[in-house]
Subunit: 234 residues, 2 copies
């Protein structure tokens, strides 16, 4: 059975890296001894080694060892053989470019759809959607395609931000940008606020955390989806 | 002589469309009777006709007639023959996709480098830089390339926002994103705050408006550039 968690963010304000998710991950990664980490999104340009160390430290708290995907000569084989996979946040354009450059898209889809438990945070969650068209990141590199892994039947907008009341800034709000996407595409988009995550187990897609998530569909008014609701109707 | 104005935004908070720029545009477009408008960026998904009407209304205040590029059967010929060009804001990915789809990049470069006066706002300014890698927009469509018109020897980040003090949001700041770009590229990036514009006449590139602009260079601390300073050293 597919076991996927897609989180809006890795870190809550004032908390440590992955701290708020650890109780959930302990269950999600039950019986996992070693996890494969995909460091390609490089937040703030951090090196693959440094990023993997940071992740290693967090997972040591639930007794899981971490290996970086960049450490393997044959990354496809590493994906096929691992017990679990985590893709960290950073820049989605860089992440997706590298997944295409190393020809990893099909291997990831196959392993994870066949039951290798997966965790994504931020950019690592974006790639769990159908396409990366609704990332917030800066296009620092041009990927071959915007198509991503499609573990859910819609797209995500992580770190979702409500319009700021009284703002005098004339740049587009998040909602305006998502509406622009819906002039071109009918793929639904879920705005996932910080502290929220999706639990996609088998065919169910449950909203988790304490906040509602905002669902945008083409030609419809956006609606709020409460924690515990199932998005398997999309 | 090349005569290019690249503005951070079309509209200041509380003001009308292009209002704050009209005194500047009156001089910039001296002797221009008809202007060609490129509506492809479609802010909020507005139609090409509606966008062109809005622009027409603003330019009527300085006695310039406006035709939308979408009205021409031969857009390359329209670019070659027009007295002036304006590209409006919206989504930079959509704008650049359309410029490549209609094969307009070379025609625009040629006309504007040969002296056809140009105005860009927001997305229309982004394309005046070397690449669109530092846009803030959402990647709602995949362009063939991120290379743009290169009227200046660096990139822009329009609607530049300083980090918000005391923010608890864990998404990347604008500065963090630009630093991520500089892990991959040595192209300088100018953060242009709302109300600022660049005047690129011949080889000079002068910062205009009342605010400083923030210049980011690879492996250097960012610096503030005062209005009136010339960026021709880049």
């Amino acid at each position: 059975m597919k076991k996927v968690i897609l989180a809006s963010t890795s870190t809550l304000y004032g908390g440590g890296y992955l701290d708020y998710l650890l109780p959930t991950l302990k269950k999600h990664f039950e019986n996992v001894k070693t996890l494969l980490f995909i460091p390609y999104a490089r937040p703030s340009g951090i090196s693959h080694d440094d990023y993997t160390s940071k992740v290693s430290h967090a997972f040591s708290k639930i007794n899981i060892a971490v290996k970086g995907l960049h450490e393997f000569d044959n990354p496809i084989k590493a994906i096929e053989e691992t017990q679990a996979i985590f893709t960290g946040g950073g820049n989605t354009f860089l992440l997706v470019s590298q997944l295409y450059n190393f020809n990893l898209i099909d291997a990831l889809k196959k392993a994870i759809n066949n039951g290798t438990p997966y965790l994504g945070c931020s950019a690592g969650s974006n790639i769990g959607g159908k396409t990366m068209n609704t990332t917030n990141d800066m296009p620092i590199v041009l990927p071959k395609s915007f198509d991503t892994l499609g573990f859910i039947n819609f797209n995500l907008n992580p770190h979702y931000l409500d319009p700021i009341e009284g703002s005098t800034h004339m740049g587009e709000t998040r909602e305006t940008r998502i509406n622009e996407f819906h002039k071109l595409s009918s793929i639904p988009v879920l705005g996932l606020r910080e502290g929220s995550w999706l639990e996609a187990y088998g065919d169910n897609v449950i909203v988790r955390g304490e906040l509602t998530a905002r669902l945008f569909r083409q030609n419809e008014f956006p609606v709020e989806i409460a924690p515990g609701e199932n998005l398997n109707f999309l």
